[in-house]
């Protein structure tokens, strides 16, 4: 139940890729023989599949090695264009994926100001604050479509409209949103969009960047001038074919699969709230991804609870941060107290999950929380009426 971290490769996707891993090994850039020709046809088809899924034109899609590269290209590629501005700024939010935040840090060292628009306690960006942060030096607004940890879906269309009013391009990291909600770059006023293959049952190591026609970027990788000179390097044909197929399937299955996930999510949420006391939902109650839940199980430490539920893959934050011992920066940014952040678990439902899985995880959670609360001094204190916020604890030891 950790489909935010990654997803298994769909068999249909593998079948589509297989010829390009075996007999169809051509380089799409070779235009003197038919090996190259067939590879080019396959890449063109994938480009159309990706474009169709996003509501874009095929010429607006740039294939990359994954969403992290797409994001780097979107942010750095925009920043490096604007040599005329010495005091350029980019606006984003503190709950973005590290791919955005760390790219922002790098750009900051290079003189680009990174402005963080405020988010409320659900993780929704404050549109008034966003407006206030915009000035004539703003070169890009980058706000995720949906959050991978707390599931909160942003008001993308409104953000895009605000960006457009000011003539600023709007980039959205849509990695977690794709395949889980309707998304259309035209309707949603998105100018750049980063997508990944492996979060939608496609292969790892491939992604795409949508770039609205007329917008420019500075390439980060120079070479043979592939992808309109924006991303040189021989195309990874099998992975690109897989990405295209995964997006075609995601589009085809979107309605049915989101309905199914939503009903599983409701079952899981109702089960948690009716069977376990003192739980708190992190993130928005309704404006959230169909497959995501994030609950704080008070007085119980998250990793100990994951361990108690280890027959089901769960996570206590983004997979990148769960070994770091620090509580989640996303939960911190939306004002979840540290001790509750340490007690929080993320649930990411996906294609492979059934009602039986939900029942199983509910049993494990109920039993695990009960057992661990029996060990927890915080639970005893809370039951005695002690306010945990008022106690003078020892210093942080980490």
């Amino acid at each position: 139940m950790d489909h935010h971290a990654t997803t298994p490769l769909n068999q249909e996707v593998l079948d589509a890729m297989m010829p390009y891993l075996t007999t169809e090994f051509g380089n799409p850039s070779s235009n003197t023989h038919e090996y190259g020709h067939y590879a080019r046809i396959a890449v063109d088809q994938a480009r159309r599949q990706v474009a169709d899924f996003l509501g874009a034109g095929p010429n607006d899609i740039i294939f990359t090695s994954g969403a992290t590269e797409s994001i780097n290209l979107a942010l750095k590629g925009t920043a490096y264009l604007d040599s005329r501005k010495s005091s350029a700024n980019i606006i984003t939010v503190p709950i973005e994926h590290k791919a955005i935040l760390d790219t922002g840090k790098r750009l900051q060292k290079q003189g680009v100001e990174i402005r963080l628009a405020q988010v409320d306690h659900y993780g929704m960006v404050d549109l008034d604050d966003l407006r206030k942060k915009i000035d004539s030096n703003t070169i890009l607004i980058s706000i995720q479509a949906a959050n991978g940890e707390i599931g909160t879906i942003q008001l993308i269309r409104e953000i895009g409209a605000i960006a457009r009013e000011h003539g600023i391009p709007y980039h959205s990291d849509a990695v977690q949103a794709l395949g889980r909600m309707e998304l259309d770059v035209e309707k949603d006023n998105i100018d750049l969009l980063s997508a990944s293959g492996h979060k939608i049952y496609g292969p790892k190591g491939v992604g795409a960047l949508y770039l609205r026609k007329g917008l420019k970027l500075t390439a980060l990788i120079d070479g043979g001038g592939h992808e309109r000179g924006l991303r040189s390097g021989t195309l990874n044909v099998p992975a690109i074919v897989g990405l295209g197929k995964a997006m075609e399937i995601a589009k085809r299955d979107l309605r049915d699969e989101s309905q199914r996930l939503l009903s599983l999510r409701r079952r899981l949420a109702e089960g948690i709230e009716s069977r376990i006391e003192d739980v708190r939902l992190n993130g928005h109650p309704t404006q959230r991804l169909v497959n995501n839940l994030n609950y704080a199980f008070s007085y119980v430490e998250g990793e100990a609870l994951i361990l108690a539920c280890r027959d089901v893959a769960l996570s206590s934050g983004s997979a990148c941060t769960s070994t770091s011992l620090q509580s989640s920066y996303v939960l911190k940014a939306i004002g979840v107290p540290d001790h509750l952040a340490h007690s929080s678990l993320r649930f990411g439902l996906g294609k492979s999950n059934s009602e039986a899985d939900v029942e199983k995880v509910l049993d494990l959670l109920e039993h695990g929380v009960k057992r661990l609360r029996g060990l927890s001094p915080l639970y005893d204190m809370a039951k005695e009426g002690v306010d945990l916020e008022q106690i003078k604890w020892s210093e942080h030891h980490q």
Partner: protein, 126 residues
């Protein structure tokens, strides 16, 4: 790969079946260390008679390794003289558990600190 793949069998056993859970009745030494904001709090209660720790129990809010080290330290101190007990180090607790993954070594410090705090509390009360 999950961090608990690196937990020894002993760590898993103490996490699954922790020894000496609870609060010692008539405890004459109590140590509470850690911070919920850091993700671990341990409460250790001991009963000392004639300079010997005759009972020790714990309650811990923390990860699997924190629970296992808490459980182990209660086993190690029982029946020991105070001086002897204070010689138990976090390293000793870790060794008794067959080691801990690197990122979890700080959990054994929690157990050592709780023991020191409980003994200190006992000495103050005397």
């Amino acid at each position: 790969m999950d961090v608990w793949d690196d937990y020894s069998e002993k760590v898993m056993d103490h996490y699954e079946n922790p020894r000496n859970v609870g609060i010692v009745e008539n405890a004459n030494g109590v140590g509470v260390v850690g911070n919920p904001a850091c993700g671990d709090v341990m409460k250790l209660t001991i009963r000392v008679e004639d300079g010997i720790i005759v009972d020790a129990r714990f309650k811990t809010f923390g990860c699997g390794a924190a629970i296992a080290t808490s459980s182990m330290v209660t086993e190690m101190v029982k029946g020991k003289e105070l001086g002897e007990a204070l010689e138990i180090s976090n390293r000793g607790v870790m060794e008794a558990l067959g080691g801990l993954p690197k990122v979890k070594r700080h959990c054994s410090v929690l157990a050592e600190n709780a023991l020191k705090a409980a003994v200190e509390d006992y000495n103050k009360r005397k």
